[in-house]
């Protein structure tokens, strides 16, 4: 009798526990309706919702815009730091992942196969060090990249796909701050490459594209500030980005443009102004590359 009672109690317990787990696991199956009722602990104070957030572009798009404006390949201007292990903090790793991503886009769009391959390896190494190397294995991205070397369109498509799986990975792991930091590194590197090529070519289109890039700097700074609560280490990076903006805003051509308040017009910087801006960008870029 005692055994029966015990057995009954045990069965009952197992049944309830199984039912609970079944209900819980059942939520993973697709539903026709996406209604989710979230139970809220009434003792918990409701989380303050950020009402403004940011969606930054990809390094590939920036490289593509520069390419269309006549940016040619110049040897030796991509990051000289070829040892990703040198970067030990997460901030340095994420920033330089951005730098290598920009270099990767630049070399791919300019058909520099060997250098593109090296950049891809450095990106992978830093992604591994950040604990997100698995994104490179999704859909055989690494292998497909190697297989398609020399085919610019296919490589650009693979990089875009890599960006997509990376974005999703960071979002699912609630690491959106890394997205903003990586993009900040990529943006500085892209501007550095653009301004270095401009020094020689003096192309008018490239000049206006350099200025146009400055219009998104405000969004980058705001995106970083929104993530500052999660990662206080980015305070210094925000200050560096703000120092670039301060230089740009102080330029006469920019002041005139702002006074005219014509959003459709392009800003053309004088060579002297480009040099002033380039010096600042180079200073911030050196800091990033030195880790």
């Amino acid at each position: 009798m005692l055994l029966n009672r015990k057995s009954l109690a045990l069965k009952g317990t197992m049944l309830i526990a199984t039912s609970m787990l079944f209900v819980a696991c059942g939520s993973e199956t697709p539903k026709e309706e996406s209604t989710e009722v979230v139970a809220v602990d009434s003792t918990v104070v409701e989380e303050e919702v950020e009402t403004t957030s940011y969606s930054l572009p990809s390094p590939l798009q920036i490289a593509s815009i520069f390419k269309k404006s006549g940016l040619k390949y110049k040897d030796g201007i991509t990051s000289s730091q070829k040892d990703a292990a040198k970067y030990t903090t997460n901030l340095a790793k994420a920033l330089n992942l951005g730098v290598y991503s920009a270099d990767l886009s630049y070399t791919v769009l300019n058909k520099q196969n060997q250098e593109a391959m090296n950049c891809m390896k450095l990106c992978r190494q830093l992604a591994d060090n950040l604990g997100m190397g698995s994104v490179f294995d999704q859909g055989n991205l690494s292998a497909r990249f190697e297989k398609n070397l020399g085919n610019e369109d296919s490589l650009a498509y693979i990089i875009a796909e890599l960006q997509m799986v990376t974005d999703m990975y960071l979002d699912e792991n609630n690491q959106q701050q890394i997205t903003s930091i990586v993009f900040a590194g990529a943006w500085v590197e892209s501007l550095y490459i653009g301004s270095k090529v401009y020094e020689k070519s003096k192309g008018k289109d490239l000049n206006s594209k350099l200025s146009e890039q400055m219009t998104i700097l405000g969004s980058i700074i705001s995106a970083l500030k929104a993530e500052e609560k999660k990662d206080a280490n980015i305070t210094g990076l925000i200050a560096d980005m703000e120092s670039i903006k301060a230089i740009y805003d102080s330029l006469d051509s920019v002041k005139k443009y702002n006074e005219a308040a014509n959003e459709d017009a392009d800003v053309t910087l004088s060579d002297e102004e480009v040099t002033k801006l380039t010096t600042k960008i180079e200073e911030v870029r050196t800091k990033i590359i030195n880790g």
Partner: protein, 156 residues
């Protein structure tokens, strides 16, 4: 003593089950991304943004700033399949603090049940995507509806 032991097991099982229910998310990001990507062709993927939405007793306005470049062609694909009830979506070229602004896109005319929305953007420097989340009178301190909305940006 044994009774306490069994009660303990039941309590733990209930807790595990409840916690899982509490944190479940109907926002299937992979499926949402795949559906957006299908509508993106021939544009190239640029970025994607998921916004978590909690329906509360108060109406909310959530804004996403999207910097774009003049002269480039953009497509934005929205996926609202992760929402338990409709949310108004509008795109502006000025932010919500601007005194005067006109929507360049709205989902007001979209048929009920349509969850994928495609928008090919005109020339702009910035776009502001606003989600106007209606108040939910049924929301209580212990229960509220929740879901997600996403958009993908592509360029040519």
């Amino acid at each position: 003593m044994k009774k306490i032991y069994y009660i303990g097991i039941v309590a733990i099982a209930a807790l595990v089950g409840f916690t899982t229910i509490q944190t479940q998310d109907n926002c299937d990001k992979k499926a949402i991304t795949t559906a957006c990507k299908k509508k993106m062709e021939p544009f190239k993927y640029d970025s994607q943004k998921f916004t978590k939405i909690n329906f509360t007793k108060k109406a909310q306005q959530l804004e996403v700033e999207v910097p774009v470049f003049i002269g480039e062609k953009y497509r934005i694909v929205f996926n609202t399949s992760g929402l338990p009830k409709p949310v108004s979506i509008n795109i502006y070229t000025k932010d919500k603090e601007a005194k005067k602004r006109e929507a360049i896109f709205t989902n007001k005319e979209v048929k009920a049940g349509e969850t994928i929305l495609v928008f090919d953007a005109p020339r702009a420097r910035k776009m502001y995507i606003d989600y106007d989340v209606p108040a939910d009178s049924t929301a209580s301190p212990t229960q509220k509806l929740s879901g997600c909305v996403a958009f993908m940006v592509g360029y040519k």
